[in-house]
Symmetry: C2
Subunit: 106 residues, 2 copies
Amino acid sequence: MRRDIFQAIADPTRRAIIVLIALQAMTPNAIADNFNTTRQAISKHLRILTECELVKQEYQGREIYYSLEIDKMKEIDKWLQQFRKIWENRFTQLDNLLSTIKKQKK
Amino acid sequence: MRRDIFQAIADPTRRAIIVLIALQAMTPNAIADNFNTTRQAISKHLRILTECELVKQEYQGREIYYSLEIDKMKEIDKWLQQFRKIWENRFTQLDNLLSTIKKQKK
DNA sequence: TATATTTGCAACCGAATAGTTTCATAATCA
DNA sequence: TGATTATGAAACTATTCGGTTGCAAATATA
């Protein structure tokens, strides 16, 4: 079992669940209402999301409210950081090129 | 075959390849030297990365140089955007709370 | 207390995945 | 030209994945 955050967001249903519970906590039943699968399938997705700590549970009687562990999402952001440096650099280089051309025109 | 960018970065070997060729183009053989698998396995990963346009090829004789399509990486960034709003908001709320407490102290 | 509701878990199934070995093709070099 | 090198593709395999059905446990309700 790999069960890391990148594998977690690879599945489109799980990405949709993440978006769904990002703003408000929801029960498995309520989440499942939004999809074309069984409640048990959603339950399995929630287990995967819980295992990699992308989601937290809040017990309330027999109901369980699931909500997004927003801080965990930053790990993806962190990995992206190294590439962001590259694409921002590209822009800077382009800017420099453009201003050089501008100067040459003068 | 799903073959989208999120599925592409789910595999740790593919993520490592992406990092490896982010700064300079490399041939499949050179890439494979960095891993504990066969060249053919790397070739398959490169095919997947090519299929979802995360990577571009440059033919040079019998060698093929692979390099990262950095713009494609922005798609992940774009998806993250909606959550970035949330976590930045949290910080703002915390700031407001702190300044409210500060005011009350006065 | 008996029944209904909410939930997770186990067993099973078909499809996808990552890897291997083998082979074909094309370019380079002696 | 013949051998070597770089590469991709095909066939196969073990494992994982996402889904289903069926069941058990715990809470709520009549």
